[in-house]
């Protein structure tokens, strides 16, 4: 796991200290609010309570009820509020708490936020940030555990980011807020307490730019969100056997930086895509297809995908553990790829 933070040491003169994922998000959001008076936060229990995941702790104290707004449980109206406010020049951050709840406001995300600029002939922008918590692993069962990035990445006009650690959570959140498009920030529930070095000053991570989390020459693992950590752990394990795994974190799944992936495949000739979401129709299918379109001649084995089985997320911890891809499955996948040559 050390490789991740070392390769991320990009900002000069920064004062880094360890911070948790949720606190890094909170710090980035607070700094973005200080930076731009037009940024406000609306959602269920975001102000008085600080968010069910403590994402919004202390923000009410600093920014007051004008900029921290508790709303009714009304996701459609909440996102619509963000769309209308964004079209009028504000930079709303609206929180959907659990990603699974997008089903009740998908119209406002897909038909309104995503299409407004296009359908208005470019005369309006929708700088809306939607924050939400995705992923399994907390025993929250099938309506509070999904990773629905493929739904959103399929919609022209939206951007979708999946931070894999605290450093990325802060940087991508700041970039999402500064971006003039609707951006969905998918925070991962299991990672909320995880820590890594995070600079104190405000910084953005470019949207649409993948990050090589670990360099390697034998096989490329493209991992989304929480799977980046699992892939790095798998890489550590395989390194003891002399196998060098390159781990790529797309960071943004829409837009998707395929160039970095293609370049990696040209070096390693083998690629595994891993995500927490259901494999069928997932981002892995898109990434595999694009790789085969462009760098097929460099492949020594078919692109392999690892994801969840075609099932709702189960509740029982033993089932849930079997459901979500992990280090062991990634190691196994890499071995399969290596056996092909």
């Amino acid at each position: 796991m050390t490789t991740l933070t070392e390769t991320q040491a990009v900002a000069p003169n920064r004062t880094a200290r360890k911070l948790s994922y949720v606190k890094a998000f909170n710090e980035g959001l607070a700094q973005a609010m200080r930076e731009d008076e037009n940024v406000f936060v609306a959602g269920e229990d975001v102000a008085g309570y600080g968010g069910v995941f403590r994402m919004f702790d202390n923000l009410l104290d600093e920014f007051g009820p004008r900029r921290m707004i508790d709303t009714p449980i009304s996701e459609a109206a909440l996102v619509g509020l963000g769309v209308g406010a964004a079209a009028r020049g504000l930079r709303p951050v609206v929180d959907l708490m659990f990603m699974d709840f997008i089903g009740v406001c998908l119209d406002q995300i897909v038909n309104q936020a995503a299409k407004m600029k296009y359908m208005f002939g470019g005369s309006v922008s929708v700088p809306l940030t939607i924050t939400t918590a995705s992923g399994a692993g907390l025993g929250a069962a099938a309506q509070h555990s999904q990773s629905l990035e493929a739904w959103l990445a399929h919609v022209p006009g939206l951007k979708v980011v999946m931070p894999c650690d605290a450093y990325t959570a802060k940087g991508l959140t700041v970039s999402a807020i500064r971006d003039d498009n609707p951006v969905v920030v998918m925070l991962n529930k299991v990672l909320l307490g995880s820590t890594c070095e995070v600079p104190e000053e405000i910084y953005g991570i470019p949207l649409g730019q993948a990050h090589i989390a670990r360099q390697g020459s034998d096989v490329t693992v493209i991992a989304l969100g929480r799977m980046v950590g699992e892939a790095l752990a798998a890489a550590d394990e395989l390194a003891t056997e002399g196998v060098e795994v390159e781990v790529i974190d797309p960071r943004t799944v829409q837009p998707l930086d395929t160039e970095t992936m293609f370049a990696s495949v040209r070096r390693t000739n083998r690629v595994l895509v891993v995500h927490e979401a259901v494999t069928f129709g997932g981002l892995g299918a898109e990434i595999a297809a694009q790789i085969q379109d462009t760098v097929f001649d460099h492949l020594d084995a078919p692109v392999l995908r690892i994801g969840a089985p075609f099932s709702p997320v189960p509740f029982s911890p033993v089932l849930e553990k079997a459901y979500v891809p992990d280090r062991a499955r990634i190691v196994q996948g890499c071995r399969r790829l290596l056996e092909r040559s």
């Binding site: 709303t71 038909n111 407004m116 309006v124």
Partner: protein, 330 residues
């Protein structure tokens, strides 16, 4: 500019002429668009507003340019009354590069942010929360503009309406909810899609005052709108207006009845109270306008529309090389 009409016994000549002009502009824009559609010149769908002109005219005459509106499938009337130009509207119906949406939206999505027209909307009820957001932005920025959301009777069965109404009420935002109750959700009569007669009753569930007006009477609509707008502008929160009105054409297109979902007698009854005829008769009787002045409004508008249609037809088609223009900002 808005004139507070609630206590006046008689509208000023200026208000009457304003309402008349807005209605005539809608009527002629729409009837000409219908002819173009019938002639096979327009792609896509056309949801005509004819018959409902008093609502758009009455409300918009109570608004300022910086006030915002969100609209419906049947949005031409709102756009015209809010001041969106004929040229860019016709060009959009033709799918031309000079259209209000650069040919990316069409009839159902005409907008003009410079006029506070935040879009007709292809999704029933979806404009309601967006207007709430626009009102939120006005208050956040310390401006005193208001937002008006137009929706039909059918839209009040959808979640976005209820969520938006509650959100506006609980946040005390300057939003005016205007229900254009034309009695039909597409082809389904009101009696088959809700058990209440007055949609305005629904406002009470959100602690919101409401008023029912004759949606064929532009003066009545204008009075109610002026009151609701003043109320919202002065920080007293949202209000709902239910205007009982009627659409002359089908839900979509000019004709094309597959089954007689409404009777000829019903249509004739409503047409007997045509909103423009009513206002003209009243204006002449009151002496607020002469017949010649009213006729002049029709003729001026006809000329403007002929010019706008010629402009649209002469306009270039969008360049397919620009297909991906404006998918993203930046």
């Amino acid at each position: 500019m808005a004139q507070r009409a609630s206590t006046a016994s008689k509208e000023s000549a200026q208000v009457i002429k304003d309402l008349h002009e807005r209605m005539v502009r809608i009527r002629l824009f729409e009837t000409e668009a219908g002819k173009l559609m019938e002639a096979g010149k327009l792609p896509g769908f056309l949801h005509l507003y004819v018959g409902q002109e008093a609502v758009a005219a009455g409300v918009m005459a109570a608004l300022r340019d910086d006030d915002q509106i969100t609209s419906t499938h049947r949005g031409h009337g709102h756009a015209v009354a809010k001041g969106v130009g004929f040229r860019e509207m016709y060009a959009e119906l033709y799918g031309r590069a000079t259209g209000a949406c650069l040919g990316r939206g069409g009839s159902m999505h005409i907008n003009d942010v410079t006029r506070g027209m935040l879009g007709a909307n292809g999704i029933v009820g979806a404009g309601v929360p967006i207007a709430v957001g626009a009102a939120f932005a006005a208050r956040y920025k310390g401006e005193d503009s208001v937002a008006v959301t137009f929706f039909g009777d059918g839209a009040t069965n959808i979640g976005a309406f209820h969520e938006g109404a509650n959100m506006a009420a609980i946040l005390g935002l300057p939003v005016v909810f205007v229900c254009e109750n034309n009695g039909y959700a597409e082809f389904t009569p009101q009696s088959k899609h809700m058990l209440i007669t007055d949609v305005a009753e629904r406002a009470a569930a959100y602690g919101m005052p409401s008023v029912i007006v004759d949606g064929m009477d532009a003066v009545a609509v204008h009075r109610a709108a002026a009151e609701a707008v003043d109320r919202a502008r002065s920080g007293e929160g949202p209000m709902m207006i239910e205007a009982k009105t009627y659409r002359y054409f089908d839900h979509q297109g000019v004709k094309g009845l597959r089954h007689p979902y409404r009777s000829d007698e019903e249509v004739a009854e409503w047409k007997a109270r045509d909103p423009i005829d009513l206002l003209e008769a009243r204006a002449v009787a009151d002496g607020t306008a002469t017949r010649a002045e009213l006729d002049d409004a029709w003729q001026r508008t006809r000329d403007e529309i002929a010019e706008a249609i010629a402009y649209a037809e002469a306009s270039p088609l969008p360049d397919t090389a620009d297909l991906l223009l404006n998918v993203y900002s930046g």
